[in-house]
Symmetry: none
Subunit: 208 residues, 4 copies
């Protein structure tokens, strides 16, 4: 990013990226690809997700996709990461309540979307795991967790949560329980389920 891509002469700064010659890559095509990828993930799941299908539906040549992403997994992740809106941070003055609201909104969102499924598809290929998971983690999960962790930390400071607890692990518990129910037992994770999980964890974590 920040490739500038300015028309006129210029480019004194990055002489190592020496002004791409020839036809520049089409931003239109890129967007169409990502949008289509997400559509297909939503409609049919990662199992029916194929580069072929994305190219055809997006009206794009297959090599145009391969030029950007080396495999369908990378494409799926990029689509998820780029097109999933960030958490909208709220600050009502009550960090614990904000945490609850955010999580209660987040969980049903993830577990009913292409994003969730694509994330999970990662796990089925061990060879792929290492590199991609990090990518996904850094660009998708970490920022979202950071928001939650911050709220929890402030809740602890405000005495709403027992001190000394590992906030990261608390988040793991909440997200993990939801993940487990969704993935393993196939139950939908709606607001009610999310509320039940939050009640339990935050109840346990409440100061005595």
């Amino acid at each position: 990013m920040s490739r500038a891509r300015v028309k006129p002469e210029a480019q004194p700064a990055d002489a190592d990226t020496p002004t791409p010659r020839g036809r520049p890559r089409s931003g239109e095509a890129e967007e169409a690809i990502l949008r289509t990828a997400l559509e297909i993930l939503d409609d049919a799941g990662y199992g029916s997700f194929s580069i072929e299908a994305v190219a055809a539906r997006a009206g794009v040549g297959r090599p145009t996709i391969y030029r950007r992403w080396p495999s369908k997994l990378e494409l799926a992740i990029e689509a998820v990461v780029r097109l999933t809106p960030p958490l909208k941070v709220i600050d009502s003055g009550d960090p614990l309540a904000d945490f609850r609201h955010l999580v209660a909104a987040l969980l049903p969102d993830i577990t009913s979307s292409a994003a969730g499924r694509a994330i999970i598809a990662l796990a089925s290929d061990p060879g792929v795991h290492a590199g991609l998971a990090r990518h996904l983690d850094e660009r998708f999960l970490r920022p979202r967790r950071a928001v939650l962790a911050d709220l929890l930390r402030r809740a602890a400071e405000a005495g709403q949560v027992r001190p000394g607890l590992d906030t990261e692990l608390l988040i793991d518990l909440v997200l993990g329980a939801a993940l487990y129910r969704w993935l393993v037992t196939g139950q939908p994770v709606n607001r009610q389920t999310a509320g039940q999980i939050l009640d339990t964890v935050l109840g346990l974590a409440a100061p005595r």
Copy 2:
């Protein structure tokens, strides 16, 4: 219909399965298929798992597989379910300690095996979810959870766990947190990690 064929009274139970005609299916072949399937899942993951490969390595014709399982997902699940040993129940008189030991042994096991990966691969295809997940749940997860739930219940009765907690949800928390770390962040779930999760949850759940 007409089933007659009985000489004496007999067969009260399965009057609806009318004696299979023709050559019976080969238990040998079945076993070879499942064993090979699990090997491939362990070696290469679900992504590289193909009916073709299983048939070739098991020395079996492809139709012999399709006769039994309609798709590779069903085969993978069956392999996992049939070839994963059940939890070995222990009863030392201290239910909470037993719970700890069982979970601490179970978690690294699942998250480093084909079983785990195959289970997860389920989730990536929404259309498949309903039926198969139930199958997997009933034959694999439910029996294992039942053992854990029983221990927790007895721990509660013994006063080792705060009364009034939803034991099922407690199990979801423990297993979910491990699942989350393994799947999403890619961290291995070894005995230490398992211990940390257990410490936290059981600490929170301890009677005040």
Copy 3:
């Protein structure tokens, strides 16, 4: 037939075929197989002719067919040979006219029937040719040609055909021309075409 099958001691003649023990082969099944085979050949041609299909439609197990014929080609030939009625010999006192009538009836018959197609299918597999062709020749073609050759010979004696001609070759010319038109050019060989071929050959062969 005439297998004797006498109950008592007897069998002085064929002591090497010592009366078969066990259940004798079912004539019913045999007939059903051949009838069905011919039906399928007529309906769908040799290309769609499969042992599987014959067995299924005849209500017979596949091994029951293989017990009798080693391959589908043999079965097809047997079906054709056994179920095609022989030429009905006529003798009006005018051998040449009888020849014409017989051939004019025979040609459309062969070139519109399963018999013809099955015969031809022979030719496409060189390995099969030797043995089976002889079988077909002996049991199907030779008897029919014998009738025709006899008529031609008597026509020659009666001065209706130029003497000194190779009657076998004359028959080859007539049947061959019809075969050629049917097979290679795909024209149907009806009575009119047959008449035209006969007119030409017999006209050429007429005494000067």
Copy 4:
């Protein structure tokens, strides 16, 4: 090839075939496929002829074959048609002698080659007959027959053949008799057999 590819006016002929987009089909692959197909037909006959085998031996992907020919029958015919050399026309001034020589060379050629067998394999599937036979007829048989018919016509003009005979039918007689002997009776059609057939037919057709 070279096609000029001129910018200006040009292309008056095929304005409806608007310059193919994408990578053009590989002539190399096409040639390898046809050559291999003919080899297999020669070695093993049409019965053992499979797309699978052609693809493997030609070092070509299976879809590359299906892209060009919809079935193995079409491929076989194309191979025969494209790789069988045309009749080499001769004109010694004696049309009848030329006819004899040409036919005497042609018959053993056809009846001992893959070409012949592939042509015949056509006939065994009635559904296929219509369209393909025409194709084969137009591109293979008709040009060859035209040469023969022309010689016979000139022989008739030169008084070497009785006037008023149907030359097409004469050719049918000669080719048909050879076809019959080869296919039905399994006799090889060598130069001697060819000579015998020609002697008879041309003897009959000689002017009185």
